[in-house]
C-alpha cells in the first residue's frame, strides 16, 4: 500500500461512507458473502448490526437474496470481490436485471488491486460482463474522493448499479476538483485541443501524468474521467472527438468490451476519429503491488504517451 501524500484506500472510503449513509437510508442493508472485513463492509455492521448480513461463501445466493430484499422495498448493497461476484452473473442477469430491482453491487478488489493473490482474484472482464446487461448501470470511481462523491448519488438512483472499486491503491486524482457527481456525466479533469485521454478508475493517475508530459512537448491534451461507463456520456465524447480528432483510452480491464470499446461505440456513431486503447489483454499474475502490475502490463503513462504520439504522427 502506498503511503505517499494524497494516496488512500478505496475500500476504506467505501466502508466509511456506507456506514455514514446508513443514518439517512433506513432501508439500507449491507450484504456480503464472507468478505465483510476485506471489503470493509464490516464498518456498517459495527453501526447497524441488524441491517448487515453475511450469507456465507455463496455469491449466487447473495445476489438473489439481495434481489428478494429489494423486491420488498429494501435498499440492498452487496459488497464482494469483483471477480467472485461474476460467478453470479446469471443471477444478476436473470433476476436482478430482468426484474429491474434496486440492487447496488459494490465490487471491490477490481482490476489488479488484489495484486498478491494473482489471476484467480483479479477482475479484468467485469465491466464487459456488466455493461452488456439491459438496465444495468456501470460506475467506476477514479479514487477515494470520487467514492465519497458518488456513493450517495448511487443509493438515490433507482435500479441495478454495478459499482467498481479497487482495494488499497488510490492515487489522488479528483481530490482538488469541485463537482457534483451525476450518473452519466463525465468530468473533464483537464481541457486540451490536440488529443484526449479518456480513462476510468485509478489509471487516470497515469493519464494525468501523461498529459503533463505531452504538454511539455506542446501537445494540448485533455483528460476525461469517465466515471459512468454505462450510460456513457456520449455528449462529452462527441465534443472531444470533434475538438481533438484523436482519442486514447486507458482502463484497468481487458480492452475487449471495456471502456475503450464503450467509447468506440459512441465515436463510430457520432464522429469517427482514430482511437487507441491501453488496457489488459490477458490474465494477470501475482506481484508485490498493484502499481508494479500496471507497469508490468504496460497500463501506464508511458503506453499512453506512445499511443498518443502514434496518433499524432498518423494525422500530421
Amino acid at each position: 500500500m502506498q503511503k505517499s501524500k494524497g494516496f488512500s484506500s478505496m475500500r476504506e472510503a467505501f466502508g466509511r461512507m456506507i456506514s455514514e449513509l446508513g443514518d439517512e437510508h433506513k432501508d439500507l442493508m449491507v450484504l456480503t458473502a464472507d468478505v465483510g472485513n476485506s471489503t470493509k463492509a464490516v464498518y456498517f455492521k459495527e453501526k447497524f448490526p441488524n441491517r448487515y448480513f453475511n450469507v456465507g461463501i455463496s455469491e449466487q445466493h447473495l445476489i438473489d437474496f439481495a434481489a428478494g430484499l429489494a423486491a420488498t422495498g429494501k435498499l440492498p448493497v452487496v459488497a464482494g470481490f469483483a471477480m467472485f461476484l461474476m460467478r453470479a452473473w446469471e443471477q444478476i442477469r436473470n433476476t436482478v436485471c430482468r426484474m429491474n430491482l434496486n440492487v447496488k453491487i459494490v465490487a471491490t478488489h477490481s482490476g489488479y488491486s488484489d495484486y498478491n493473490d494473482g489471476s484467480s482474484h483479479q477482475s479484468l472482464e467485469d465491466i464487459a460482463l456488466m455493461r452488456v446487461l439491459p438496465r444495468m448501470k456501470v460506475v467506476v470511481p477514479a479514487d477515494s474522493w470520487e467514492v465519497r462523491r458518488s456513493l450517495p448519488v448511487i443509493l438515490r438512483e433507482p435500479g441495478p448499479i454495478y459499482y467498481r472499486i479497487g482495494r488499497d491503491y488510490s492515487p489522488p486524482i479528483t481530490e482538488s476538483f469541485k463537482y457534483d457527481f451525476k450518473i452519466g456525466e463525465a468530468t473533464v479533469l483537464k481541457d486540451g485541443s490536440d488529443l484526449v485521454l479518456i480513462g476510468a478508475g485509478v489509471v487516470l493517475w497515469d493519464a494525468i501524468k501523461a498529459a503533463e508530459k505531452l504538454e511539455q512537448m506542446n501537445i494540448s491534451t485533455a483528460v476525461i474521467d469517465m466515471t459512468t461507463i454505462k450510460p456513457i456520456d456520449e455528449k462529452v465524447i462527441e465534443t472531444y472527438a470533434r475538438k481533438t480528432g484523436r482519442i486514447v483510452t486507458i482502463e484497468e480491464h481487458n480492452v475487449i468490451g471495456g471502456l475503450g470499446s464503450a467509447v468506440s461505440e459512441v465515436v463510430v456513431k457520432k464522429y469517427p476519429v482514430p482511437i487507441r486503447m491501453v488496457g489488459a489483454s490477458d490474465f494477470g499474475r501475482s506481484a508485490r503491488s498493484q502499481r508494479e502490475l500496471l507497469d508490468y502490463y504496460k497500463i501506464n503513462d508511458k503506453s499512453l504517451m506512445n499511443a498518443s504520439l502514434e496518433l499524432l504522427r498518423l494525422k500530421s
Binding site: V55, F65, G68, L69, A71, T72, E90, N94, T95, R98
Partner: protein
Amino acid sequence: MSLYNNDIHLGSSLSTVEILTTIVLKFKRDGSSEDKDWLILSKGHAAPALYAVLAEKNLIPTNELWKIQDINSILQGHPEIFIPGVDMSTGSLGQGLSFGVGVAEGLKMSRSNGRVYIIMGDGEQDEGQVWEAATHAASMKLNNLISIVDANGYQLDDATEEIKPKHYLPEVWRAIGWNVVHCDGHDIISISYALENGINSRKPTVIFAKTIRGKGLPLIENSKKQKVNNGDAEE
C-alpha cells in the same frame, strides 16, 4: 393450452397444478401490499399451470391462456413479473429459493405477516444454489418460508433417480434445520394439511409433494414425455 401450443412443458405443469391451485385459491392472502403472501414458481417451466390458476382467480383473462407464447401475448414461456399475479420472474432453476429467502427476511424486517411460498422441482434440487439458500434460511429461522418440492420423479433427460438419486433429500433438508413434511401432491386435502403444518412451524418448512408427471393424460403420465400430438386431441 397444449392443443394450441405444443411447446409448453405439459408434464411438469400437470404435476404441479393441484399444488398451485391449493396455494393460490386457498392459502395465498392478497391483502395490502405489505401483508400479502408471495408465490414464487421457481420451476418456472410449469408456467402454463400457474397461468391457468391465475385465470381461475380472474387475474388473467381466460381467452389469453390460448395465446401462451404467442408474440402478441403477455403470457411468456416462463413467468415474468409484468404478468398479473406473478411475484418473481423465473425460468432459470435454483434461484427462487434464494429470492424467497430475501423476501421472507425483508417481510420480517418490515414486521409484515406475509408468507413466502416457493415451488421447486425435484430435478431443480441438483442446483448448488438451492443449498446455499437452504442453509441460509435455516440459520435465519425463517418460519414465514414454505417451500414445496414437486417430486414428480423426472427431470429433462430422464427419471431423477437415473440422473442423480434424490431419495435422500428429505433427510438432508431435515439435517440442515428445516421442518420436513410429506404430502400427496395431487390431493388438495393432503396438500392443505402440509401447508397448515408449515404455517404453524417455528422453522422454515419444506414439503415433499409426491406427484405424477403428466397426471391426467395417460399418454404422457409418469413418463418424460412432454407433448400430446394433435391427433390425440381427444385426451
